[in-house]
Amino acid sequence: MERIIMHIDMNAFFASVEQQSNPALRGKPIAVTGSDSRTVILTASYEARAFGVKTGLTTWEARQKCPDLILVPTNNRLYTHVSSQIMKILHDYTPLVEVFSIDEAFMDITGSVSMFGSLERICYLIKSRISARFGITCSIGIAPNKLLAKLASEMKKPDGLTIIRNEDVSRTLEHMPIVELCGIGRKMAAKLALYSIRTCGELGRYPAERLKMRFGIVGEKLHQMGLGIDDSPVIPAEEAEEVKSVGHSMTLKRDIRERADILRYLLQLSEMVGRRARRYGVWGKTVHLTVRYADFTTFGKQGSQPHHINLSEEIYLAAVKILDSLELQHPVRLLGIRLTNLQHQTSQLPLFPEEQTRLKLTEAMDKVNNRHGDFTVMFASLLDQQEKGSHVISPAWRPEGIRNVAVA
């Protein structure tokens, strides 16, 4: 049976949410930026986009294009809240909702159409409920599979509704540039351009064997993409793949080179990573440290631990050990710590009292911080730290997961 897949994409999500929560911003060019002074544009409202302001510009560049631009620092908690409410609405139409990112979702509504009358009616209901409740518009794409549904939703923005029926597929794809397909990035497009493949039509006609020879398994996939074939199912959050890592990174307020300063940030990051790992009951055997210099050169190194860890101080000590094995050449702009090689464990209690104390202390800290907010109780060496807390959108819209959406 032919599937009916819907892709829904909130238009200028962060900016729209801001405009709705603050009426003074409505109708004006605004841009949401990272929470400190050195980040880039995360989302621009459609008013700002008219001036050429787009995601990824520095605030300075954006102001050049649009002098009246209003910059709004990101409010992750608000977006997460709105997102989870919207995802709840979507669940009223099918249980098969795959949250693709904070402002995007796939839905398999094959079985729902007869319940609600028609495709168009489902789209109308979703759009009007989201608009009435949050004042946000969205673009919806409907097609026989996820690949085409996503493509369809991109075709009309804002507030679009595009349906690609089976009989339209080849006509739609014939002149569609391949970069429009989700999964083909600029690098892949450049490689394919060497074979004179620029449109989906060309990709679909290109002999599959030759693609396979050049790109391996990916070649087969590319061929299918060119033909608009995609069998991947819509996977609801509960069934989504297990998390592979827990990590945090932060762009620092200013570039630092002093070891003591770096250590303070590492401790802070370790606490953030440790707390999240503990919340999800995972232990990790490998610690990764990521360092970005002021010139954006980014590199990382990892260290394997003798056993699985998730206490903040253990993560910190592991990170410091990695740091000390590096020779930093330039001031540091960003630091990140990631815990991987994860394992769920029922926790084995330690035998010696001092270890037990350490565990109980951490548990007590977590309890207080869960109740009264992050860093309510913290390591004394972090007291002077200016910026605390997560620059990450907490995965509240997916309560069971540990997916990490780094912002800034």
């Binding site: 003798p306 056993h307 769920h344 464990q345 029922t346 084995q348 209690l349 330690p350 035998l351 010696f352």
Partner: protein, 373 residues
Amino acid sequence: MEFRIDKEQFLKALQKIQGIVEKRTSMPILSNVLLEATETSLLVTATDLEVGMKSSYSAEVVATGKITVSAKKLYEIVKELPNQQIVFSTKDNDWVEIKCGKVQFNIVGLSPDEFPYFPDVKEESLFEIESSLLRGMIEKTSYAICTDETKYNLNGIFAKVEVKQDGINCLKMVSTDGHRLSIASGNLKGSVGPELLKGVILPKKGIYEMKKITDEEGGMLLFGFLDNSAVIKRGDSYMVMRLVDGEFPDYNRVIPTANNQVVTVNKENFSHSVRRMAILSSEKFKGIMLEISDNGIKISSSNPELGDAMEEIDVEYHGDPISVRFNARYLLDVLSVAETERVDMRFRDELSPSIIVPENSESFLAVIMPMRL
């Protein structure tokens, strides 16, 4: 240097030191075996600077001298040689020639001058210890040695002699990995040096090598200390191991004294039950559950990816009902070294350390910390 030696004898000598030579190649000389031909015998020495062994073998020495060669390669060569007399001789520039029947090997060695200093041991400073006693005590403790190398003070067995009221020297060996602890004790005849009265940490690798020596045959061994090393001597060979330089934690405070809920189980039956239940406890969902009540012990395990299992064992128990979760591996390790037919398990509550001891025996005590329920 040139000596002639029987193949089997040489093979045995080389086999004995395979566990000692350094596997990593940070210092090539430590991967080599030192062969010294004296007027009367062949001395075979190996060390990784932590554990070393020197043995003497009878050989027909044609010319005295010494050389070092790769212990592993030499062993491989000798192992495959025909069963005849081997002629071993040195050439210029540390080359070695090995002849056996119609086989000839030329291999390159390293100068014996580079080989680290190896202490000579005087027998007077050693005391006698029963091989079988030592063997039993190592067996009962070595399983719990910590393998996390960052906790170096736990990477060995703590050995200490306590003088009992009746004047008898009681040797205690203790090991722990931070989750469990094992203590073996046994009475020594005769006197011991000050080192053991204070307590020493014997390194893990040395322990394993010492175990091999005790496995060979019964009788008496000589044991003692030299500088910062422990020495063990049997016949013509002796082993030295550098003591772990660290403080062993005060283990007495983690041995519970108020575990009044006691249940006695048949060791064999209980081991089988634990083993069965452990099949379903995966890496991810480790642990098996013991629910002890008047009706017996209910052992269970569950694994969300596979299913669950349950088994009941009849036991006499009159204490309060108690539920406790253990890493199955920890239980099995203890059960496999307990020597009696039945063992006592002593509990206080589900989050306190539990004790397992052989029934009516003072020679062994294991403490296991439970897992969270």
